[in-house]
Symmetry: C2
Subunit: 338 residues, 2 copies
């Protein structure tokens, strides 16, 4: 990406984030300062990149709409995302979220269940501010996506007790658990901006492949990331025997002594485990396979973006920042690998 | 109620129930037969009186609509109710629901959290089948009510660790936890049948007071019910020191030796506890107070019904069964006490 495009993308991202944070603060004032909403305010206050609402707004502007028109959808998507975090953290027994205690740790499980349920309703209420004409359609996408995310979480939990997960099943699980919400974010942003069917399809597909690329990147960085930049403990997935792209493909490919060696590491946390498993991954070539898979998703995302551009030359020309941002998001995946 | 009206009410209730059960079975076929939905099918299959969807349909017909028009709202309300049961049973650590193992007992907590979340989304999807024109309004009522129910559950849980709950707080808690959903059922049924604002207000108020009456009746029957008809263990609330209308009012009224005696029973399950507490309740007159409170709610419900009739003479005349059913539901509260 050229330097000026990078500048446009960063500027656009900041502008969308600020608009979202303002809209979010304003939205939360509608709810009383009672116990039920305290965990909602806490979790929403932990921040994060706000990638999903930023994408909603960028898609809206890329489709020729004003970014403010996308605020109801942006709020719905981000509130929904935080609701899934609150409940997933209970299910995964996670102690920390963005470096702070999770809701069920700070309060208790019952509070996290109930305030999560309330947060889910708040996400729906946020979407009701969309114009009545667009509403049924937005709601259909939104709820359909919500169920897919639940299905993805169900599959993810089921994989924990299985040793025969196939890579196709894994790709389907991350599609449901992570990617469809990014895809829906772009689709709903497009709809909020008045996009036609073809534009929405291109936006959805872009989001889907970017989402898959991000998830694969997570798997890659957890194993091969630079500890200085990564933020989390490198090798955490390996220590937990988590069924990532790397482990599943390694189990599929390994034979003879390699297979024995890999099996021997699973279920134990002996010293030097991370290094030995990383060596096995490299030896089996699953690290290169994962980079290829990521590059494939990025290229599919860029293909969707190209279709978007050829279908909407006018709207996209006028929204330079939004387009640069979408390109930039796709480029982020490969950039962080180097 | 006259004999012929009772007959009309029963016939109408059976017709609505059958229509609901058929619609519900049909609706559930939209979802795949996967693990995520198994607990949903299980819980919905446990049946129950289906009072809420029956009321949605009766209100629709009372407002001059055809009961089929109310099916989306009826499904939404009943699915939502079952979602709250699935999550409340985790929070209350309840082993049984309608005489069968609760979802978190039959599966586990994580499954009950996640399938409950999916059920919540399904309730929203059911409502999307309502006509686009009525949808925004139905959704506003529905989500607002959902949050009130969450607030009620939060207050109920908070009361457990408090010894100073006032009767006004208790009435507000049961309004939120139980009554607003019945009120919303009637309101949404009315809206589905094309009711005007005044009709909807009367329906909402009717549901609110009927709901309060039912909840107070639960408190009464748990203490003074006939063990043969009651279905549950009489005295269960007393053994668990549950903060019901009776206990809260007794704690407010008791003085001197009575107060000492009551305090002495709390936190212990000594032999003869139920009988001694019942004697105290009678001695303090809180049983009569509770009967008066119920009668007051029934009379407020009947007042709302009278306003409904005077405002919609034509529609109600044509829907004899629906009107008889609404009268019958209010009459059920007092009938079951004798």
């Amino acid at each position: 990406m050229q330097e000026s495009a990078t500048f446009d993308a960063k500027k656009a991202m900041e502008a969308y984030r600020t608009a979202f944070e303002n809209g979010s603060s304003e939205f939360l004032t509608r709810y009383p300062e009672t116990e039920l909403y305290a965990p909602v305010r806490y979790l929403m206050g932990l921040g994060g990149k706000r990638l999903r609402p930023v994408l909603v707004m960028a898609a809206c502007e890329a489709a020729g709409g004003r970014p403010e028109a996308a605020l109801p959808a942006a709020l719905a998507v981000e509130l929904f995302h935080n609701f899934t975090l609150m409940h997933d953290d209970i299910m995964d027994d996670a102690p920390l979220r963005r470096g702070k205690p999770t809701v069920h740790e700070k309060w208790d499980n019952n509070t996290a269940i109930l305030s999560g349920d309330a947060l889910h309703v708040m996400a729906c209420e946020a979407l009701l501010d969309a114009p009545d004409k667009a509403l049924p359609d937005l709601l259909r996408t939104y709820h359909r996506t919500a169920l897919e995310v639940c299905e993805g979480q169900e599959q993810d939990m089921a994989f924990e007790s299985r040793s025969d997960v196939k890579i196709e099943e894994y790709m389907e699980m991350i599609r449901l658990k992570t990617s469809v919400l990014l895809a829906a974010a772009l689709d709903m942003g497009g709809k909020s901006g008045g996009a036609d069917e073809q534009t929405r399809e291109a936006l959805y597909e872009f989001g889907l492949h970017v989402g898959l690329a991000f998830q694969l990147q997570d798997d890659y960085l957890d194993a091969f990331g630079n500890p200085k930049n990564f933020g989390k403990q490198v090798g955490g997935d390996i220590l937990a025997d988590k069924k990532t792209f790397l482990l599943i493909r390694a189990l599929e490919k390994a034979q003879g002594a390699d297979f024995e060696a890999l099996q021997c590491e699973l279920g134990r946390r002996s010293e030097g485990k991370v290094q030995r498993v990383l060596d096995l991954y490299r030896h089996l070539g699953v690290d290169a396979e994962l980079r290829d898979a990521m590059a494939g998703q990025v290229s599919l995302a860029e293909g969707a973006l190209a279709r978007l551009k050829s279908h909407n030359p006018k709207a996209l020309k006028d929204s330079g920042g939004a387009l640069a941002l979408l390109h930039g998001v796709a480029a982020m995946v490969t950039a962080r690998l180097s």
